[in-house]
């Protein structure tokens, strides 16, 4: 009889025993001079060094044994072939199909997925070309100069991150803006600067029912309608809808030929490879966008085919499980030493925490081990002046991912910038070294006097980290990097036996918000009017509502 929880597996218990070992990174490096060679892998222009993790060959082997015991290989196969791995929603999770080449074959529920995906991508590519070439015109016949992507969560974080990361490939004068906030702050200030004649809105929402997105879309529509131009023309010339729910998009007013398709088998946070990436493609062009897909596809192939011992996503995921579930490290920080990856940590907060912030198995059984750690991050050099103090001298154990690009500023006129880049790389390596070895990272000078301040200068060390070096940041390597983390999430979920593709935890808040909204005495537009029902709120919520309504009425 199969154990109901992975923690009951003997392989899990073996790891629990190994975790009792007093792991010391200083000792591990002292014991094994070629440790960096043994605990590093290079794939797709990515050098992956996990030698500064608190593990040895035994742990690595035990983790792989656990992965095998958890049927990881079979789970990867099931993921790729479109099995319903999203058990609670009875759906496949086929984001890997979004980057399959046109020649690949995959059918899902009798539908040729590859053909569907490429039809959608080609339709998007035509739109991209028309917008970039000044063919797409606004209601007055002027070419589009500004594109506003309205979306939230996966319809926002992925495109925002990618747009920033690949900005140096942006070869269009068209400006792309992103709006996600429900409160209208972003959109309000943006609309003041934009010209309705030349502004195109992309409304991205898988369900086309997300209140955050639709409230912004409605404001945008009202802004355009205030021009006095024909409403049909405005809807036709100024909106593109991206959704898995075409009926709702049509009902909202966007004509069918300006709709792009999503599928229920793509999770929002895994969707940036689809038409959701339209805003990115507008900036960098279809060719570069396709290169990004090719990079992700290369990582998909590696994930599916490489032995676990050399498999980047598997190793990254297993290390995550080791740190969280066995070494009880409940915090993980991502530290890119590259300004282009500014939004990568924010993107990962959703990808990892919304995916793996779960506490029940596929069968609904509560787990008895820690799953996804709290994840945050920041550009490394900025974080050095913010929260590194805690990493170095706080009381929390924190695991870290350092990410940097080896080559940058390749242009011959970038002398000073190259110098800055080298400085950034040096800081990246130095910080991982100090975190690993503490005071031992710096050899004491023989005649150094002991000071009263020394007790405050103590660096504990032994904070585990992985360093990921990209040869250079290109659309292709960036695609591979993102796919690496997507698969890392899947590996961790596979070991923990949790479903990384649902997000029930965000649903209840939406329901309660609807109830509360009805009790706020603000003048509302007819379409947002909700009849207040008799609801017993807790005394705190009651008091807060009373305070708000009193202030509004004043």
């Amino acid at each position: 009889m199969n154990p109901t929880l992975p923690s009951q597996l003997p392989q899990w218990q073996k790891l629990q025993q190994l975790a009792q070992h007093p792991w010391s990174l200083t000792q591990l490096f002292a014991d094994q001079s070629d440790r960096s060679r043994k605990f590093s892998v290079t794939v797709e222009g990515i050098y992956f060094d996990y030698s500064k993790q608190c593990l040895d060959q035994n742990v690595k082997e035990a983790l792989i044994e656990l992965a095998n015991a958890c049927d990881l290989k079979q789970k990867i196969d099931r993921l790729y072939q479109g099995d319903k791995v999203n058990s609670s929603e009875d759906r496949a999770a086929l984001h890997t199909a979004l980057r399959l080449p046109k020649t690949a074959q995959l059918s899902h529920q009798g539908v040729d997925v590859v053909a569907e995906v490429h039809d959608s991508l080609e339709k998007a590519a035509v739109m991209v070309d028309r917008i970039r070439n000044g063919i797409w015109r606004g209601y007055s016949g002027k070419a589009i100069t500004d594109v506003v992507n309205i979306g939230v969560g996966g319809s926002d974080l992925g495109p925002v991150m990618t747009n920033t990361a690949l900005d140096e490939w942006a070869d269009s004068t068209i400006k792309v803006h992103f709006v996600s906030n429900m409160d209208g702050t972003q959109l309000g200030s943006l609309l003041e600067r934009l010209n309705p004649e030349t502004t195109l809105f992309i409304i991205s929402s898988k369900s086309f029912g997300t209140v955050d997105t639709l409230s912004n879309a409605q404001t945008a529509r009202a802004w355009l309608f205030s021009t006095g131009a024909s409403q049909a023309t405005l809807l036709r010339r100024h909106f593109i809808g991206i959704s898995a729910n075409p009926e709702r998009v049509s009902a909202w007013g966007i004509p069918e030929d300006h709709q792009l398709k999503l599928w229920d088998w793509v999770g929002g946070r895994f969707s940036m490879w689809s038409a959701i990436g339209l805003a990115v493609a507008i900036r960098i062009g279809n060719k570069r966008f396709n290169e990004m897909l090719q990079g992700a596809y290369a990582m998909d192939q590696h994930f599916a085919q490489a032995d676990f011992e050399q498999n980047l996503p598997v190793l990254l995921g297993l290390i995550g499980v080791w740190n969280s579930s066995f070494l009880e490290i409940n915090a993980h920080t991502v530290l890119p030493y590259d300004g282009r990856l500014k939004y990568f940590p924010s993107y990962l907060t959703q990808l990892e925490m919304e995916s793996n912030g779960k506490s029940v198995t596929h069968e609904g059984q509560p787990v008895n081990y820690a799953t996804c750690p709290i994840l945050w991050g920041e550009i490394g050099s900025n974080a050095q002046h913010a929260f590194y103090q805690l990493l170095h001298q706080g009381t929390q154990k924190v695991s870290c991912d350092f990410i940097a690009c080896v080559n940058y500023y390749q242009g011959s006129e970038a002398g000073e910038l190259k110098h800055q880049h080298a400085l950034s790389l040096a800081n990246c390596l130095a910080q991982s070294r100090v975190l690993a070895f503490g005071n031992d990272a710096l050899a004491p000078k023989p005649d150094q006097a002991v000071s009263d301040l020394d007790k405050f200068k103590r660096y504990r060390g032994n904070q585990p980290s992985t360093t990921i070096l990209l040869d250079e940041l290109t659309p292709r390597s960036f695609g591979a990097l993102i796919a690496l983390y997507e698969h890392k999430v899947f590996v961790m979920a596979s070991i923990w036996d949790i479903n990384p593709f649902d997000q029930w935890g965000v649903e209840m808040g939406k329901q309660v918000a609807n109830e509360v909204f009805a009790h706020i005495h603000l003048q509302k537009s007819p379409s947002t009017q909700v009849e207040a029902t008799d609801t017993d709120f807790d005394s705190s919520t009651e008091a807060l509502l009373q305070h708000i309504n009193k202030k509004i009425e004043e």
């Binding site: 063919i135 015109r137 209601y139 007055s140 016949g141 002027k142 024909s230 023309t233 036709r236």
Partner: protein, 467 residues
């Protein structure tokens, strides 16, 4: 000595076509040695060809060194220059003009050193000639300095480049008699007479008061309505300022045309009134689709290249350029608005394609952005542009939506709209034919008079004017 590899050795004397008559080396040398008024002209543009013709008319023997393909292209593109073409053919037949391939190395040309004058059209020089060394000196200058060309032989430079380019080149030339002649006088459609009797002759000289060293140009200066001689940098600057002022006037009127649209005023009438003010004058006040051709756009581009390396603010010239670019598609937007964007799969007639009526050139003309936009909406375009037809056909050989028509009204009955881009002032607009089909007119040239607009039974939209 010109190497055999650099000359065309097949003398063709075909009187039935306009092909240049090429001479082999021995023949060309014997031809040029017959006279002591021998000019070497280097270039293939209409400026260079016109200069060759004019110089022969002034009694000189001309050796024209040119990129043969480019030369053929220029001749083909300027068939509308009837006088120029006729004289060109005549002088070729008389061997007063001898065309030779431009050698790969300037030294091969200068080696001969037998001419009495060298006239270089700088934009036409091969890239290898223009390549600069560490001190920013073009290769051809170095090779001229090292050649057997006597230091007393005058050198004339022409072309449009960044400010100061020709003054610097003149300084690099180790010879006193270097001159710069900007072709501000040349008019499309009348290239030959406009050079022979220029309205404005400007000339920069490296050595002050050295006009007597180029007596060969005296007739042109004497014929000029206005002339001015100064140092080369001043003449370059003046050339750029003149052209930029003209461009500014055009963009000014085009910007005001939009206000005129909004106010319901006819900008054409306003331009006429403005022209009555002697302080302003009437030239370059016509609103339309903007300026095109080669000279004004090249001048604005050269100015931008000059300015981008300086800290000098140049928002006015940037605006001139932006307005001009935008103006070229303004008529499309009027068409778009007329049909509320529902323009897919329509058919339109377009009258004229060249950058100005009478010319066969479409360089920087509104026809290109207009066609591109119309085709992108699957609109069939029936183009009546006899002079520019061959150029358009060569540019868009595989475009199924491009149809040429031999008479303007040929496809009017099937057209949803009529665009006017370039209609000759001297030719009557077929108003009756337009009225028969009641097709809306989009007049980007403002070719219609006020009376003609009123006589239209259908709708009319011009630039800064409507019915």
């Amino acid at each position: 000595m010109v190497t055999p590899a650099n000359t065309i050795s097949s003398p063709i004397n075909d009187k039935d076509n306009n092909s240049p008559v090429y001479k082999n080396n021995a023949e060309s040398r014997s031809a040029v040695l017959k006279t002591d008024k021998h000019c070497v002209i280097i270039g293939h543009s209409i400026d260079a060809i016109t200069t060759a013709t004019v110089m022969v008319s002034l009694g000189n023997q001309v050796s024209l060194y040119a990129n043969q393909e480019e030369l053929q292209r220029t001749l083909a593109n300027y068939t509308f220059e009837h006088q120029q073409q006729a004289l060109w053919q005549l002088y070729l037949n008389q061997q007063s003009i001898v065309v030779q391939s431009i050698p790969a190395h300037a030294s091969d040309l200068f080696e001969q050193g037998a001419a009495n004058l060298y006239w270089l059209f700088h934009s036409d020089l091969p890239a290898a000639w223009q390549q600069t060394n560490d001190s920013n000196r073009p290769t051809w200058v170095t090779q001229l300095n090292e050649s057997r060309v006597p230091s007393q032989t005058p050198v004339i430079l022409s072309g449009i480049h960044k400010l100061g380019t020709f003054a610097a080149i003149a300084e690099y030339c180790q010879r006193p008699w270097v001159y710069y002649v900007p072709f501000v006088f040349l008019q499309d459609g009348s290239a030959y007479p406009s050079m022979l009797s220029p309205k404005l002759w400007l000339m920069g000289e490296k050595t002050p008061d050295s006009l007597d060293k180029i007596g060969v140009l005296q007739p042109l200066i004497a014929q000029a309505q206005q002339s001015y001689i100064s140092d080369i940098a001043t003449i370059e600057f003046s050339r750029s300022a003149i052209m930029s002022m003209l461009a500014t006037r055009v963009s000014f009127m085009n910007e005001w045309s939009r206000l005129a649209d909004q106010q319901g005023v006819d900008i054409q009438e306003v331009a006429n009134i403005m022209g009555l003010d002697a302080r302003i004058g009437s030239s370059y006040l016509k609103a339309g689709w903007g300026f095109g051709g080669q000279t004004l756009p090249a001048e604005i581009k050269a100015l931008q290249q000059t300015l981008q390396h300086t800290q000098v603010a140049h928002s006015l010239m940037q605006a001139v350029s932006l307005i001009n670019d935008d103006q070229k598609e303004l008529i499309f937007r009027k068409f778009w608005q007329y049909f509320d964007g529902a323009i897919e799969h329509k058919q339109v007639s377009i009258w004229g394609a060249s950058y100005k009526s009478g010319s066969g050139r479409t360089s920087e003309a509104a026809i290109h952005p207009l066609l591109r936009l119309l085709w992108s909406y699957n609109i069939t375009t029936h183009v009546y542009a006899l002079e520019a037809e061959s150029e358009l056909a060569a540019l868009y050989p595989d475009q199924p939506l491009l149809k040429f028509i031999s008479t303007p009204t040929q496809q009017l009955i099937d057209s949803d709209a009529l665009f006017i881009l370039s209609w000759p002032d001297t030719k009557r607009l077929p108003i009756n034919a337009i009225n028969e089909v009641v097709v809306p007119v989009f007049d980007a040239q403002n070719a219609f008079s006020k009376t003609q607009i009123q006589s239209l039974t259908g709708d009319y939209q011009g630039i800064g004017r409507s019915k």
